[in-house]
Structure formats: C-alpha cells, structure tokens
Symmetry: C2
Subunit: 203 residues, 2 copies
C-alpha cells in the first residue's frame, strides 16, 4: 500500500458552479484522468458535520445510548439516528458536537472522545462527519431549530445492534456508530476521553 | 415505537427541479411541517446502488475479502472501498451486483446473500444501497467503464477492521459492511445464501 498512486489520481482542470441552493452547493469539474484523457466530476460541497453517540451508561453490562427518531424527507419516512448536525462557519468540531447534542436532546456531557471520521458519499459529496462519543450526561431543555421536529429516546446497545441487523436502522452514520459501539464495548477499540473544564464549551 | 408519527411527518406541497446535471439531479420541495408551517427541503434524486462484499474465504479462521482502492474526486484522495455501483435503468439489484463485481474486479460468484440496505445521506439524497455478500468466487478479466480507474486487492477481515479503527477506512458503506462482516463471522447475524443456476445472471 506504499506505492505511488499516480495511476489512480485525477487532477482539476476547471471548475464550474452548477447550483447555489439554500442548502445544496454543486460543482462540475473538468478533470485530467490517470490516462491523460479528460473527464467530468459533479459533486456537492458540504461544510462538514458531526455525529454524537451519547452514552447513558457504559459501566453496566447493558450499555444504553440516546437516539433520535426524525422524519427524513428524501427517505419519506422516520429514521432512527444518533444526534448529528452541520458545522457552523468557523465552528470547532467539539463545540459543534456539544451544541448539537444540547439543541437536539437537551443533554450536556462532561466527557468527550473523538473516535474518527466517516465519509457518507465519497463519489458525490465532500461531506466529512466527525464521530464523537459523549458520557457523563446531564439532562436539560432542548432547543430545536425552527422547522426541526424530532423525538429523543434511549435504547440498549444490543437493541440498537438488533435494529441494524433487521433493517430498522439503515442510516449509514448510525450503522458506523454501531460498529464503533460494538468494538468499544467489547474492549477492542478503546477511546481516549477528555474531561471538559467546568463552564467550558457552550455557555 | 408503535405510536403515530403525525407529529414528525412532512408532506410535499410543491416540487421544483433545481439541477439536471449529467450525474446530479437536485430538487427543492416546499413542504408542510408537522406544526402546519411551510418549509423547504433540497435533495438529490439517485437511482439506487449496490455494494458487494466478496468473500475469498469464509471457512478458515481468517476470512479474506476483495477490496478496491479508488481515487475519489470529492475527497481528493484514494479510498479503500468494497465494489459498488449504480443501478442501470430497470436493472434488478442482484443483476447489478453481479455486473459491478465482474466489471470492477473480474470476479464471478456462485452464491449470493442480500444482507440489507443502507442510506448514505438521509438528509439530502434518496440514495439506497443494497448490501450483497458473494462467495464461491472465480477470477476473470475485469471490464472497467471508460474513465474508471481502480485497483483490486484482498485483505483479511481483521485487517479491514483494524483499518476501520485507525481511520484508513472512512467510507460509510465500507464501514457498514465491516459491521456486517464482524457479526456474520462471529455467528450473530447469519445470512441466507442463494446459489445461482449455471449460466444465470450476466451472460
């Protein structure tokens, strides 16, 4: 895996804005392909996002997590997901994770661990989702955005894994979180936790 | 989880085509939100896709799978992924899985099992990816599309899981496949295999 990637790499020749929507920003680039020919690539530019896996209990035999049920318009149905949201301009990933957790669920967390990143659609979006785990939760009032409607509930990790198997959970970020949860719970993929100083993070 | 979802559901009021690209098709719908107010939702319409997890060996202690390295332009780098591709118009999911596996890797498979589906971006794309497992592989000549450049290699499931942990694999569909692989290998999530009749599938 250490060889040169020159036989795979595509380079930008020109870029054209295709769409400046309120939410979607699309581009079409002319690219030089590895064999020297020209091709075109259409893709969305995304500001980046975070997902938060809130652990209600991670010391008992039966770990519990906080989940959401939200109607997803492109899917035409309610999906089970972990809390997530887009970065505000200039916003730090952890600050965004704290904000989204609080706004969507009302919970604040004392300890945070960044597990890694996931890329939901490598073929047509620049979106990167940082994967955060949160524990030491305190319940509070949530502050949903205007036009945001979602339900918060809790489940055990074994329930979540069962829903992944049976198709009740099909959201890719939540499936990725399930992979992490399974391997964290069985001790294979340890996390490095950071404890927030009092009053740090969102005011 | 059996209660009505009326307090979450959004309904279409009007739909406007935002973009008809060569690849990307975007729409903006005006929607009635659960509280009766109006909102707008921008999203991509996608024809659907398949992912194939080709098992080179699934009877020894160390399972091996076929993977690809492909430059993904929106990511600006080479990604490790399972073979995947979009449905052609009217194409059956299994036929697409057989076609993509053969075109991208050269392999044909005798046995196939559909594990489930994943939705890569529930917030802004209708894309659904069917998750197929394939075994009984025979190597042959691959037939890449024009403008398609990718490298095929094999790895053990434990190597793949290690790359998921360390961040060398960040593609959401491949992470989802890793969740399935781990639970199939440990016996938790059994698959139902179908054996193709001789000469069936792609000619």
């Amino acid at each position: 895996m250490k060889q040169s990637d020159d036989h795979l790499i595509e380079t930008k020749v020109a870029s054209e804005a295709l769409l400046k929507g309120r939410f979607l920003q699309a581009f079409r680039d002319s690219v030089r392909l590895p064999d020297g020919s020209l091709g075109s690539r259409e893709y969305l530019v995304h500001p980046g996002a975070v997902m938060v896996v809130p652990l209600l209990s991670d010391t008992t035999a039966e770990w519990r997590v906080v989940l959401e049920r939200q109607f997803r318009y492109p899917m035409g149905r309610v999906m089970i997901e972990f809390p997530a949201g887009k970065l505000d301009p200039g916003e730090d990933s952890l600050a965004c994770a704290q904000r989204e957790l609080m706004e969507e669920t009302g919970y604040r967390a004392v300890q945070w661990a960044r597990a890694g990143v996931l890329h939901p659609v490598v073929s047509y979006s620049t979106e990167t989702i940082d994967i955060w785990f949160a524990r030491g939760l305190t319940a509070g009032e949530r502050q949903l955005d205007v036009g945001e409607f979602l339900e918060v509930f809790s489940a055990s990790v074994s329930e979540l894994l069962h829903w992944c198997q049976t198709g009740q959970v099909t959201d890719a970020k939540t499936l990725t979180a399930a992979l992490w949860l399974q391997n964290i719970q069985n001790g294979s993929w340890p996390l490095t936790w950071q404890t927030l100083a009092a009053r740090s993070g969102i005011a």
